[in-house]
């Protein structure tokens, strides 16, 4: 008996009277700090597994490069189809990345621990979605001008394109988080996830392509951008709630 952990046990018994107040309840981390840690964890993990990070971006680059080859190298025609190509590519690329949003965390029990952490699961899910946007939406927005330039779009359109893809991808990430959470319990959920998410993403596609088109032709693009922003705000306020509820169901 004495050969084992008894010294440590002895210490604990002596410490017992003071340890009573030592429960962590009062030291509960503030919500924003916990959400910040959840965000930092996902960012750090993403940089440890760069393959997952690069995959949607490579997909986006490939799609936008295939169009000139398949349709025609004529710049006037490419310029005409550029908004559609950019947005269809961005939508599919962000869909591709969605599958990874919660999957690993569901397998290794991280979501379970989040749900039992005593913190708001909604905030933690929001933090995860924010990390997802930083890792896919933002890089897509930064890559979109390069793809646009290769489609013959003038440099003057670049700020408008970046803005529309950046704002639109926020909405896409949030809408996608609901679909990703709902399909958590299902193996090979990719097809179902697309079916669930695509119809909801169509407004983003329509307004995003319109904003990009206006940016290219030099028209007033504020109206479609504002509609995109409205969709993003709607997503920020409602999507984490829905996704958190879906995650809870998947844990049962």
């Amino acid at each position: 008996m004495s050969a084992y952990g008894s010294p440590a046990t002895g210490v604990a018994v002596q410490a017992a009277p003071v340890a009573r107040q030592a429960w962590a309840g009062s030291r509960q981390a503030p919500m924003l700090e916990a959400a910040g840690l959840a965000l930092a964890r996902d960012l750090q993990l993403a940089f440890r597994k760069r393959g997952q990070l690069v995959q949607p971006l490579a997909f986006f680059a490939m799609v936008t490069m295939l169009f000139p080859l398949a349709i025609s190298p004529e710049l006037a025609r490419l310029r005409e189809i550029a908004p559609g190509v950019l947005w269809a590519g961005a939508l599919l690329a962000s869909l591709l990345a969605l599958e990874f949003l919660f999957r690993d965390d569901a397998y290794d029990g991280t979501l379970e621990q989040y749900a039992l952490s005593g913190q708001s699961l909604t905030w933690l899910i929001f933090a995860k979605t924010a990390a997802h946007w930083l890792l896919t939406g933002l890089p897509l927005a930064l890559m979109a001008p390069l793809a646009a330039l290769s489609l013959g779009v003038s440099a003057a359109a670049v700020p408008g394109i970046v803005a529309s893809v950046a704002v639109g991808s926020v909405a896409l990430s949030l809408i996608g988080s609901i679909g990703a959470a709902l399909t958590l319990g299902i193996k090979r959920s990719g097809a179902l996830l697309s079916l669930l998410t695509l119809p909801l993403s169509l407004p983003v596609l329509i307004f995003g392509a319109r904003a990009t088109q206006l940016a290219i032709t030099g028209g007033p693009l504020l109206a479609p951008l504002e509609l995109l922003a409205a969709l993003a705000v709607l997503g920020v306020t409602l999507a984490p709630l829905a996704a958190a509820a879906a995650v809870r169901i998947s844990l049962e």
Binding site: T9, R27, A29, L37, R41, G109, E112
Partner: protein, 208 residues
């Protein structure tokens, strides 16, 4: 000062058409450990998950300090830590990073406390290694460090001694003994008896 207390009242749980928990009742007071045994598939894990609120039992209640936990799950969750079959660790983070994120989401974590916990479970020499390179027993030890760090009254442990060597099993025993001495409550589902370091063990056997 109120004492922490867990009461489980006639819990019934169905999984599909299987009646897994058939009216499970027990009470657990401050400083008590309940060891739940039973053959595979008898519902040990389901019982733990129903108690912590991950599963919704069809009938029955769980009371924490006399109040139904469903009325305020967040407060209840602040008071418990649940350790499942698999340690909740990220394969691509080191042991130390894992603990910093896992426990840090719950409460503020001092660097010294973290080092102490790693030392305690014998993880200091390899705490910088990625968890994917650790053995199953080493991962279990990291999970135990998380347990030691969480400083909450109620521990729900699912097979805490799996994959551990004899010394590791004794470590589980002494961690539980300390938790009980502090006035904590431990509910453990096990196949093998908990180490003898845990005194005043109560037992609950689930039938298949």
């Amino acid at each position: 000062m109120h004492d922490e207390r867990l009461d489980v009242e006639s819990l019934h749980l169905w999984r599909g058409d299987r009646h897994v928990l058939r009216g499970v009742c027990f009470s657990l007071a401050s400083g008590e450990c309940l060891q739940v045994t039973g053959p595979n598939g008898s519902g040990k894990t389901s019982l733990l998950r129903a108690v912590c609120g991950l599963m919704y039992p069809e009938e029955g209640r769980v009371l924490w300090e006399g109040r139904d936990v469903r009325s305020d799950l967040r407060t209840f969750h602040c008071a418990l830590v649940y350790l499942g079959h698999e340690p909740p660790l990220k394969a691509d983070l080191s042991a130390r990073e894992n603990l910093r994120y896992w426990i840090g989401v719950r409460h503020r974590l001092g660097a010294a406390a973290l080092e102490d916990a790693l030392e305690r479970v014998g993880a200091s020499p390899w705490c910088e290694r990625l968890v994917r390179t650790l053995s199953a027993g080493q991962r279990r030890r990291v999970a135990l460090a998380g347990l030691a760090l969480s400083m909450v009254p109620l521990w729900l442990l699912d097979e805490p001694t799996t994959n551990l060597d004899t010394e590791g099993q004794q470590l589980v025993g002494s961690l539980i003994a300390e938790q009980l001495a502090r006035g904590g409550l431990v509910l453990a589902a096990v196949h093998h008896e908990l180490p003898a370091t845990v005194r005043d063990l109560r037992r609950l056997e689930l039938a298949a």
